[in-house]
Structures are given as structure tokens and as C-alpha cells.
């Protein structure tokens, strides 16, 4: 029974929903709900990388750039053009997808270290643009984001945002799980293992990689837009190299290619600094140490390791 559940496609979704319902009962304070909402948002961004890195095997060290793009869309759209913030959330995602489509082809032709440095460079350039175009972005201090109103209701308060972000993550997880089990997901996983054999089977490797890159960018931009709207603020820091690294660390620590892993990894890296606020000076050292320790001693990540252990125990 448990073994079957571990293998079922939507088991992750039910587990996630159960956790989402349980958290407000177990931790009924605005502070905890806010932290949890941040976890859901970063998990959503990480899910994009799960598709790109976990399924298709293509690393992106500049993914926070798309996160920033989504955030600034929600900030700039209403402030400069008087657009509806919710519309801007979607516009930002579309913009990120379009940008990923444009730069994706040449970038994704690269492999290994070359791909890593190209995506890294792309992300850094985006962050620099947000940093420098002060007239549009408010410069290093960032800009305020107008409050979001949906059908006349203002989205405010930790509980509201908790459910909005939880819903977004559930949808994101639903789509990622569908992709994984579909012909597209199979093609992505195939080219991850052998591009030559995938192409030999008729898979247009370049196009599939591009699709994964665009989808990953859209996930990140949605997450960025939600984050900005929730915080009422966006700064260039959202798009920083450090944030890109944290996103990659989330998917790897949680378990590369695992939807639940992306959530666990996000929870890990979001909650940990909160828990360490007492020892704030140690935060960076601990983060660096954790990344190293996980990469060296638990390369498969938390969720796949646990899952394997459970399955072995059951059989």
C-alpha cells in the first residue's frame, strides 16, 4: 500500500496539500505563515529548475534572473503603465518565457561547464540591468510593489498570501508531475542520459531543451512576481548570482528531478536562515558548508534517498 503510494503519480500532490492544510494548524502565527509562503514561492521557482535540470539535465546558474524579471514586471507594470498587477504577473511570465526562448537556443547548444558559465553570465547581466536602470527599477534600493487586488478584494495578510502561494505551488507541482510522466518528460529524460540516442530516436534535442528552459523561466518569473507582490518590494538582490545558486542548491539538496525534492530543498534553505537568525553572522558559513556537505555525501538529495530507503524497507 505504502509502496504503491510512493510510486503513484499524484501522491506528491496529496502529500503537499495535506502539509499545506496542516501548517496553519500546527503553526498558527503570521510569522510562520509568512515563512511558509516564502517556502512555497521558492519551491515554485525551484520546480522550474527541476524540469530543466532534473528532467532535461541542463544546468542554469542564472535562473534568479528570471525570478527578478517576474518581480520587476509586477512592480513596473502597475507603477509605470497603470496595468493590473495580476495581469502583470502573467505578462512577466510571458516576458521571461520569450526571453528564454530568444537566448535559449545558443546557450543550450553548450554543455557542462560552458553551459554553466553562459547561464551564469546571462543571469549576472540581468541582475546588473535591474541594478543600473534606476529610472525603471529604482536602482540598488529596488522599488515598492503596489498592493494586489483581485475581484475587488485586496490581497493582504500572511494567511491570504499563504493560500495564494500554496495554490500556485500546487498548480506548479501538478504541471511538473504531468510533464514527468508524459511523452515530453520521457524525451527530456532521454536527452539527459544520451543526446545522441535521443536524437537517433527522432527527438529534436535542441527544441526539447529549449522547451524545458522556457518552462523553467516561466516558473521562476511567476515565483518572482508572487514574491514581489507578497513582500510589496523588489530589489536587484532577487536576481543575484547568490539567489541563482540557492535555487540550484534547493533542487539538488532536495533531490534532482523530484517534485517533492524541490519543495523539501526550498523549505530547507528558506527555513534554515530563519532558524539561524540568532547566529546571523554564521549564516553564510553554514550555508556554504551545507551545500558542500550535501554535494559530497548525499549527491542524490534528501527525497530520492529517503524514497529508496523506504522502498527497500518495504520489499
Amino acid at each position: 500500500m505504502l509502496g504503491r503510494l510512493l510510486r503513484a503519480r499524484y501522491a506528491t500532490l496529496f502529500l503537499l496539500a495535506a502539509i499545506m492544510i496542516a501548517v496553519p494548524y500546527l503553526a498558527p502565527s503570521a510569522f510562520y505563515l509568512r515563512v511558509a509562503a516564502v517556502v512555497w514561492v521558492f519551491a515554485l521557482a525551484a520546480l522550474g529548475l527541476t524540469i530543466l535540470m532534473g528532467y532535461a539535465g541542463q544546468v542554469s546558474l542564472g535562473h534568479a534572473g528570471f525570478l527578478g524579471l517576474g518581480g520587476y514586471a509586477v512592480a513596473i507594470g502597475p507603477a509605470r503603465f497603470g496595468l493590473d498587477p495580476v495581469l502583470c504577473l502573467f505578462l512577466g511570465a510571458a516576458l521571461a518565457g520569450a526571453l528564454a526562448f530568444l537566448v535559449g537556443r545558443p546557450i543550450l547548444r553548450l554543455k557542462g561547464y560552458y553551459l554553466a558559465i553562459a547561464t551564469l553570465g546571462f543571469g549576472v547581466i540581468l541582475a546588473l540591468v535591474f541594478h543600473s536602470e534606476s529610472d525603471w527599477t529604482g536602482g540598488p534600493d529596488g522599488m515598492a510593489v503596489a498592493r494586489v487586488t483581485v475581484f475587488g478584494t485586496r490581497l493582504a495578510g500572511a494567511a491570504t498570501w499563504y493560500w495564494v502561494t500554496a495554490g500556485a505551488l500546487l498548480i506548479g507541482a501538478f504541471l511538473a508531475l504531468n510533464i514527468e510522466a508524459s511523452p515530453t518528460g520521457r524525451a527530456l529524460k532521454a536527452l539527459h542520459d544520451s543526446e545522441v540516442a535521443a536524437a537517433g530516436a527522432g527527438i529534436d534535442v535542441g527544441r526539447k531543451k529549449l522547451a524545458a528552459f522556457v518552462i523553467g523561466a516561466i516558473y521562476a518569473a511567476f515565483a518572482g512576481g508572487l514574491l514581489a507582490a507578497m513582500n510589496g518590494l523588489i530589489t536587484p538582490d532577487a536576481a543575484s548570482f547568490m539567489h541563482s545558486i540557492e535555487l540550484v542548491a534547493m533542487v539538488i539538496i532536495g533531490g534532482l528531478g523530484s517534485v517533492l525534492g524541490a519543495v523539501v530543498g526550498a523549505a530547507f534553505l528558506v527555513v534554515l536562515p530563519q532558524a539561524l537568525t540568532v547566529l546571523q553572522e554564521y549564516e553564510q558559513a553554514v550555508l556554504g558548508l551545507l551545500i558542500m556537505v550535501f554535494m559530497i555525501f548525499l549527491p542524490a538529495g534528501i527525497v530520492p534517498t529517503l524514497r529508496k530507503w523506504l522502498l527497500e524497507r518495504l520489499s
Partner: protein
């Protein structure tokens, strides 16, 4: 013309530092196939270490020497504790390990040192030297001179010494090197140690010009990495040319276009090189085997 010359001077000065960082990358990459993102942090350790040791009353040359030794120890520890245990990991995992190491080193640096910018007195005073209408800081000569000396020393080491030859043999074919009796583990440790020393020395000489802080390593690493790749990953000469090229382009970009995007230059260059010359300026073509 004077402005042009001025930009060339400043470009070559920073470029020399990028070249040294790129050289460190290349050395480690050749020996172990690892791209060491913590390379820039050796530069920081060299600079910050010297600053704090000098502030503690130690004579500058001795302080610099101690800082360089400290960087070498960090480099050796990095190899022993993080790279060795992860042997055979994927490129992405190795990247993440060295990035983790870099974050860790920065985290420890802000505890051991502080979060402020620091400088060192210029080695031979601050009186600018007039040259063709432009001015050159004596410290720039130090940077370029030390960089040149390091290039020559490294060249002689790799070409003329037995240890250097063993390192090159390991780079060319690790298994074959092992078979002819090269102790590969020691060679890899050597590569990390020498890279750390090169980075730290660069940090000592450049600090009087650019200032230093616990987190300056990131940009040095990224630009040095870009330089190494522009030159074609794994080519020492390419690393040097790439470093100088990026330094010059950065200076020209800042001088003639806008200083706002000075830091973007390296990345625009790297993207263009990767798109149009995926193997870098000096890299050969490789054929995928199936």
C-alpha cells in the same frame, strides 16, 4: 590619445589580476577537471590577510607572506576535504561544491575579519608617473611586474622541472601519469596549492589599487573564469591573453561607453565567445565520440 593610453594602463592592471585568477583556474582545471569557483577567494585571503596581519603590527612583507601561506593552506584543505571525497562527481556537483566552498570561505572571512572595505599602502608611494600624457600609478607597475614574474615562474616550473612535467602529464592523461609512477593525489594537491598562492599574491599586489573586502572574490572568480574561457579552457597562454583582453575591454567600456555596465563586459564577452567560438580563442575543435 592620452585618454586611450590611460584606459590601456588601467585595463592592463586589472587585466593582469584577471589573468592570474584565470591562470589559477587553468592550473586546477588541467590537473583535475574541476572548475574552482573559490579561486577568487584566494585573492581575497591574500589581500584581507595582509591587511589584518599588518594591522596587528607585523611588517608588510612578512604579513603578505603569511597571508599567502594561509591561502595555500586553505587551497590544500579545499582539495583534501571537498574535492578528493567527491571524486567522480558530475561537473554540476563539482561546481556546486566549489561554490559552496566559496560561500563558506566568505562566511568565515566575515567572522575572522569584518565586513568593511580595506586598503594597503602602495608599495612604492602614490606619486603618479607621467607617461605619454597619461599617468600610471607605481602600484600598477607592481601588479604588472609581479604578474609577469609569476607567468615566467609558472612557465619555467611547468616546462623545466620534474614536478611541473608530472603536473602536465597528469593534465594530459591521469591514468597514464599514474601508470608511469606519478603520485596523482600529490600532483592535484600541488595544483590547488600553487593556484591558491597565485591568487593570494594577486590579492596582495592589487589591494592598494582596488581595495578588498570579504566578498570581493566573487567578481574576481567570475571574471577570471570568463577570461579562462575566452582563452579556451585549459590553455595557460589563453588564460593570460583572455585576462588582459577582458581587463582592457572593461576599461574601454567604462571609459568610452558607460561605467554603469563595467561589470557586465566580461559576461557579454563570454557569451559572445561561447556563441561564436564555443572552444575559446585558443581551444581546438573536439569531435564527439559515439
Amino acid at each position: 590619445m592620452a585618454e586611450f593610453l590611460q584606459l590601456v594602463f588601467s585595463g592592463l592592471t586589472v587585466g593582469a589580476v584577471y589573468a592570474l585568477v584565470a591562470l589559477g583556474f587553468t592550473l586546477i582545471y588541467n590537473a583535475s577537471d574541476v572548475i574552482n569557483f573559490a579561486q577568487g577567494d584566494f585573492v581575497m585571503i591574500g589581500g584581507m590577510g595582509t591587511v589584518f596581519l599588518a594591522a596587528a603590527g607585523i611588517a608588510l612583507p612578512l604579513a603578505a607572506l603569511m597571508a599567502i601561506v594561509a591561502a595555500v593552506i586553505v587551497g590544500l584543505l579545499l582539495h583534501r576535504l571537498a574535492i578528493e571525497p567527491a571524486r567522480g562527481a558530475s561537473p554540476v556537483a563539482l561546481i556546486m561544491i566549489t561554490i559552496g566552498a566559496s560561500i563558506f570561505i566568505k562566511g568565515v572571512a566575515q567572522l575572522v575579519f569584518d565586513k568593511q572595505f580595506h586598503s594597503l599602502p602602495a608599495f612604492s608611494g602614490d606619486a603618479p608617473i607621467a607617461l605619454g600624457g597619461a599617468t600610471l600609478l607605481p602600484q600598477s607597475l607592481w601588479v604588472m611586474g609581479v604578474a609577469l614574474a609569476l607567468f615566467v615562474a609558472l612557465y619555467l616550473f611547468l616546462e623545466k622541472t620534474l614536478l611541473g612535467k608530472a603536473l602536465r602529464a597528469t593534465a594530459a592523461n591521469r591514468l597514464a601519469a599514474r601508470l608511469v609512477g606519478v603520485n596523482v593525489t600529490i600532483i592535484l594537491a600541488l595544483a590547488f596549492g600553487v593556484s591558491a598562492a597565485i591568487g593570494a599574491i594577486a590579492g596582495v599586489v592589487v589591494t592598494p589599487i582596488t581595495l578588498t573586502r570579504y566578498d570581493v572574490g566573487t567578481l574576481f572568480a567570475l571574471k577570471g573564469f570568463a577570461a579562462a574561457m575566452v582563452g579556451g579552457m585549459g590553455h595557460p597562454l589563453g588564460a593570460v591573453v583572455g585576462g588582459l583582453l577582458i581587463g582592457l575591454l572593461e576599461a574601454f567600456g567604462a571609459g568610452y561607453i558607460s561605467s554603469t555596465y563595467k561589470d557586465a563586459v566580461a559576461f557579454v564577452v563570454i557569451l559572445l565567445v561561447l556563441f561564436f567560438l564555443p572552444r575559446g580563442l585558443f581551444g581546438g575543435r573536439t569531435v564527439e565520440r559515439v
